[in-house]
Amino acid sequence: MGFLDIRNVTKSYGAVEVLHRVDIAVDEGEFLVLVGPSGCGKSTLLNMIAGLESISGGEIAIKDRVVNGVHPSKRNIAMVFQSYALYPNMTVGQNITFGLEMHGTPRPERDRALAEVAKLLQIDHLLDRKPGQLSGGQRQRVAMGRALVRDPDVFLFDEPLSNLDAKLRVDMRTEIKKLHHKLKRTIVYVTHDQIEAMTLSTRIAVMNKGYVQQLGTPKEIYDSPANLFVATFMGSPAMNIIPAKLVVENGRALAEITDAGGKPLRLGFGAGNYSAWEGREILLGIRPEAITDPEGADRNSHNVQPLHNMVTVTEPAGADTFVTMVLSGKDVIARMRADAAVHPHQPFDFAVNMEKAVAFDPKTGDRIQA
């Protein structure tokens, strides 16, 4: 039993089911990120935890108390909204203490809590301002202050950073992470940004079309995606998906693909029993950073294989250089060191870290477990 239990929860609007039997147990102090494209049901699930949307099936429990019919204000949760939802007619101080006031906390106690939170978030000097006079980052802090001051069991964040500009977003991301380290509170955080999901979470639930596609630590999600959706959604640039044929030679599984010229190439998988798939079509998944120049290859890997192919385009991005080539008729992106000696329209010796390669069933899109 977790601290926050989501048990077989479904959500329907009329006959349309938008959330299908979601089952997640969140431990105390965990930072769970719900990530997925728009319309995947992540915000709906968050609103159901908050009590802003009714639960069509299953149950949600906080600290072993089923809260299905409990009013949002009685669930002991706090929520930070995408638009911050600061009350425009109240000062920052009033905004932060409004919840305490509604819960009948006496004035001196409210003031003490406000001072504490303001200090923590470094907004002491803003307390008398109205939200309209604040910058985006300041509003964000006030919104978090409003959540923190209540000292709730669970914090809910609904895409809190998506209204900020790129730089501020990274800063606030770090800030939220620091806050979590310091306060060790249970957080459920919704975002469509996979980098936010990877950096902030202790666990990620990747959602699509109302289903939880995979639930796991950031490393599990990134290295062992359960299916094609998770593989391509998480990571930027996305994982390369290359149509291949599985052949077995001397008991070793190899993925047969073609190079830019149409010549067949073979890349051997590491350990694992792929015999059931012998001679069948598979989809080979390789992350861009697993394809490098030979010098840049992962030294700890036991299975780095050479690959000779024509380079289509190089894109220097400062820290990295992205190199595009064609494999099995598909564009494949490799991520290299900035100083890799690679030039467009010339052949190049790539190094593929096959230890990190995964294979998918082309029909179902599920990962082939080997």
Binding site: S73, A85, L86, Y87, P88, F98, R146
Partner: protein, 292 residues
């Protein structure tokens, strides 16, 4: 607006500009002419008007017509002037405006933030009430007032105007609150505020502009209404009915100067509402519209 002259989108030459001002000035004079006639003739002795000098300034200034219109003119059977009717109008308009605006605000709040099944149909029906001509409801309304025992009384008139005004006030507030972020209401819910608390503490404080619009609209309509006043007023008739009785009375000399003064008296409250509230209205509309 005076602000606009400095940065209109199209800059014009001096001659064009003068031409525009000239035309505008002429229009302004044309529209102000009736007011001028009313004002000038209300401070003249009757003999000067009947003498045929309607446009001229008075040779002898007098406030007697105003005094007469206010307190001694013969209206109906009694020489009471407009005073008691003015009072009736105030007693009718103020509660009617306040009640219809308040209910309209709560309706708008419910229809946008506490949506329920069939809310659009209900709103559609309320909207429809804006387009029902007054005449259609006269007889049913008379019956309802009779049953309630409110016929011929100020509360009866208030009820009629509240019912009739609700369609508009609901429309105003619904459309205003539709643009109001629902996340704020949700945040307040999580903070523990209830239905009315959210309305008082979150919604109403930002409803200034639309409240002013609604009040102007309701005040003008209810103050200027004649049909309901004449039909349901009974002995407690509002200003408009009294003015009509004064001007239309067929016995004795027609005291035009008194009529003019009475007409201005009848128009003054709406003028005041426009001038006072209208400024807040424009200010309120401008406040949030431009980011800066």
């Amino acid at each position: 607006m005076s602000v606009a002259s400095q940065d209109t989108a199209v800059s014009t030459g001096r001659i064009t500009r003068m031409l525009i001002y000239l035309i505008l000035l002429l229009f302004a004079l044309f529209y102000l002419l009736p007011l001028y006639v009313m004002g000038v003739n209300s401070v003249k002795p009757l003999s000067e008007i009947t003498g045929g000098n309607m446009m001229a300034l008075p040779q002898e200034w007098t406030l007697d017509p105003w005094r007469s219109a206010w307190s001694t003119a013969q209206i109906g059977v009694q020489a009471t002037g407009l005073k008691p009717y003015f009072l009736t109008s105030i007693l009718m308009v103020v509660p009617a405006v306040v009640i219809s605006t308040m209910i309209g605000a709560i309706n708008g709040y419910i229809l946008t933030k506490w949506r329920f099944k069939g809310d659009t149909i209900i709103f559609g029906l309320m909207l429809f009430s804006c387009f029902i001509p007054f005449q259609i409801v006269l007889i049913p309304m008379a019956r309802v007032l009779g049953i309630l025992g409110l016929a011929g009384s100020v509360p009866g008139l208030i009820l009629v105007h509240v019912v009739y005004g609700l369609g508009f006030s609901t429309l105003y507030f619904r459309n205003y609150y539709a643009a109001f972020p629902t996340e704020l209401v949700r945040a307040a819910q999580i903070d523990g505020a209830g239905f009315f608390r959210i309305f008082w503490r979150i919604m109403l404080p930002v409803s200034g502009p639309i409240t002013v619009v609604c009040v102007i609209w309701q005040f003008t309509n209810i103050w200027n209404d004649f049909l309901f006043g004449a039909s349901f007023g009974g002995t407690t008739q509002p200003m408009t009915v009294a003015l009509n009785n004064l001007v239309q009375s067929s016995t004795g000399v027609k005291e035009y100067n008194v009529h003019f003064a009475a007409a201005i008296l009848a128009a003054i409250p709406t003028l005041i509402v426009y001038i006072v509230a209208g400024r807040y209205f424009v200010r309120g509309l401008m406040a949030g519209s431009v980011k800066g």
